[in-house]
């Protein structure tokens, strides 16, 4: 176990000053997610334009440093991507957290990968994995816009 790996500078900084913590005006897709175990909750808003590009993405909610940083980094990376690119990035990130040693997607710049890999520290803390993945699952739900509320506990 290594606290330093979990609470890296970038995580603490994003946790303290989350980017895109607001509500997108004229959003056309959104979803809510919560983790009943700890009370973390997140609401993701998306604005997809006619070319199916993410014109804006934002989130509201409260949670631990890990969950806030994860949502912050996620929204930063997804903005400007097409919905297919976004899906690839999401799969890549969730795959990395689950089992893969690194990120594979060619859409991601090295810099982006470094940022996302900062979240890999949670792999050593099984109880905290959900904190890192909640906003991502919620984003999937928003893109599918199936009206379901994401919950990390079924």
């Amino acid at each position: 176990m290594n606290l330093k790996e979990l609470y890296q500078e970038i995580i603490l900084e994003h946790g303290k000053n989350p980017r895109n913590l607001r509500k997108t005006e004229n959003f056309n897709k959104d979803a809510k997610g919560n983790n009943p175990l700890c009370g973390d909750n997140v609401h993701v808003y998306l604005k997809l334009n006619n070319q199916r590009k993410v014109e804006d993405i934002s989130f509201e909610g409260s949670g631990c440093a890990i969950s806030m940083a994860s949502a912050s980094i996620m929204t930063d990376l997804i903005k400007g991507k097409s919905d297919n690119e976004a899906k690839e990035i999401i799969d890549d990130f969730l795959g990395m957290i689950k089992e893969n040693p690194e990120l594979k997607s060619s859409i991601l710049e090295e810099d982006d990968k470094t940022k996302l890999m900062c979240l890999s520290g949670v792999k050593q803390y099984p109880m905290r994995v959900k904190c890192a993945t909640l906003s991502w699952h919620t984003l999937i739900s928003a893109m599918e816009d199936d009206g379901k509320q994401v919950s990390t506990e079924d």
């Binding site: 176990m1 303290k16 175990l37 700890c38 009370g39 973390d40 440093a65 890990i66 806030m68 803390y125």
Partner: protein, 406 residues
């Protein structure tokens, strides 16, 4: 038994937890188990095992006697009038579900009201919520004051002519407030209102005398009382347990089963359908004996000193904000740290072997009221010492350092 070195009765404290000595501050969630209880379970399975109440062979009779013996010990420990007022359940949660369900079946009608408090654990809210759905029953909440207590006036204010049941916590698992159960019961009974007490936190830490409290039902969680998991107790006044219908159906709870009719067994079998948590019940007798050997007065004194010490030390820590300030308080300290989420606190403390709880502790109503999503909670048991709070404080300072707080 001397409480000052009681820790050595608990084998877990001989273990290294991730290379640390264990600082266990999560007893409100579940307590650790003394060796006598662990050994008793082993011994029963090794040398004495049989199911109870069914067969007539030697082992079955002996096991049945042991099982019933725990019932008598519990009766004495909580000073119930009758042995048959003690019903074993799978936990306090099941005990509360049993009460809500059977009162719902027979006693409550559409439009009736149930009064809870904002301090209730989900176990003492969700079962009543079912009646809101199935029987159109209304639920009201008595409010906390700014110290996180429920003064009796706040209960009185919410009683209406339709109030049929008051279901309340004995000791809050978040603020530690001890509710004036006896006074509330007197008030309620004067208006023919049933009083159900969630005694999960009361039973391990307070002197229990259900006849003195006067309540109609009292739910106990054995795993918080230095006993095994999978076991709870419902105390219910005999007249209610006799009058109310059974909760679950199955073997052991019947008198006669015919194709066209079934009659039910007498107390306490009526509420103990199926094979019960036999080994746990039998081992729980050792938990009671363990508590008796220390003496509840000594336990109360010890835990009071710990909590006063813990509060004092945390109050001096300028980033820590304590939740609630009840005058009459049990062994629970909940807190937040400005700028550090409780989940992060718990992870960082865990690295030092300090086990606390973070989250809403199954009290979302209370956390909503306090306008915080979660809190951190340190709770004590007989084995804690002041040095546990010193370590807690030191680890909190480590959190502050990681999060760059002053």
């Amino acid at each position: 038994m001397n409480i000052d070195n009681i820790k050595k009765e608990f084998p877990i404290f001989d273990e290294k937890i991730q290379n640390n000595d264990l600082v266990y501050l999560d007893s409100a969630n579940s307590s650790q188990k003394p060796k006598v209880v662990i050994d008793r379970i082993n011994e029963f399975y090794t040398k004495e095992f049989s199911n109870v109440g069914r067969s007539i062979h030697y082992l079955a009779v002996a096991a049945t006697n042991l099982y019933e013996n725990t019932r008598s010990s519990v009766q004495k420990y909580i000073n119930a009038k009758d042995k048959n007022e003690i019903v074993f359940t799978k936990g306090a949660t099941e005990a509360l579900n049993l009460v809500a369900n059977t009162l719902g079946q027979k006693y409550l009608n559409e439009g009736d009201e149930i009064l809870l408090t904002e301090l209730e654990h989900h176990s003492n809210y969700v079962p009543w919520h079912y009646l809101r759905k199935s029987k159109n029953i209304k639920i009201n909440f008595a409010e906390i004051n700014e110290d996180g207590e429920i003064p009796i006036e706040n209960i009185e204010k919410k009683i209406t002519p339709k109030t049929k049941v008051i279901a309340i916590n004995h000791l809050s698992n978040v603020t530690g407030a001890i509710l004036p159960i006896k006074e509330i019961t007197e008030l309620a009974h004067a208006k023919d209102i049933i009083v159900v007490v969630d005694g999960c936190q009361g039973a391990p830490h307070l002197k229990l005398d259900v006849q003195d409290l006067g309540c109609d039902f009292y739910a106990i969680s054995c795993h918080k009382m230095y006993g095994p998991t999978g076991l709870g107790i419902l105390y219910g006044k005999k007249k209610w347990l006799e009058e109310l219908p059974p909760y679950q159906g199955g073997g052991g709870m019947i008198k006669e089963v015919k194709k066209d009719r079934i009659t039910y067994g007498d107390l306490p079998n009526k509420y103990e359908a199926g094979t019960m948590a036999t080994a746990q019940v039998i081992a729980f007798d050792k938990s009671i004996k363990f508590l008796e050997s220390i003496g509840i007065d000594n336990i109360i004194k010890h835990e009071k000193e710990l909590i006063e010490y813990g509060q004092e030390i945390l109050k001096k820590n300028n980033s820590v904000k304590l939740i609630g300030n009840p005058k009459n308080k049990g062994g629970v300290i909940s807190f937040t740290i400005e700028g550090v989420h409780p989940h992060d606190i718990a992870t960082i403390l865990d690295e030092d072997g300090v086990a606390i709880r973070a989250g809403h502790h199954c009290c979302q109503i209370l956390h909503d009221k306090l306008e915080i999503p979660a809190s951190a909670r340190a709770s004590v048991g007989v084995y804690n010492t002041k040095s546990d709070f010193d370590q807690l404080n030191e680890s909190i300072n480590k959190c502050k350092k990681i999060f760059d707080l002053k």
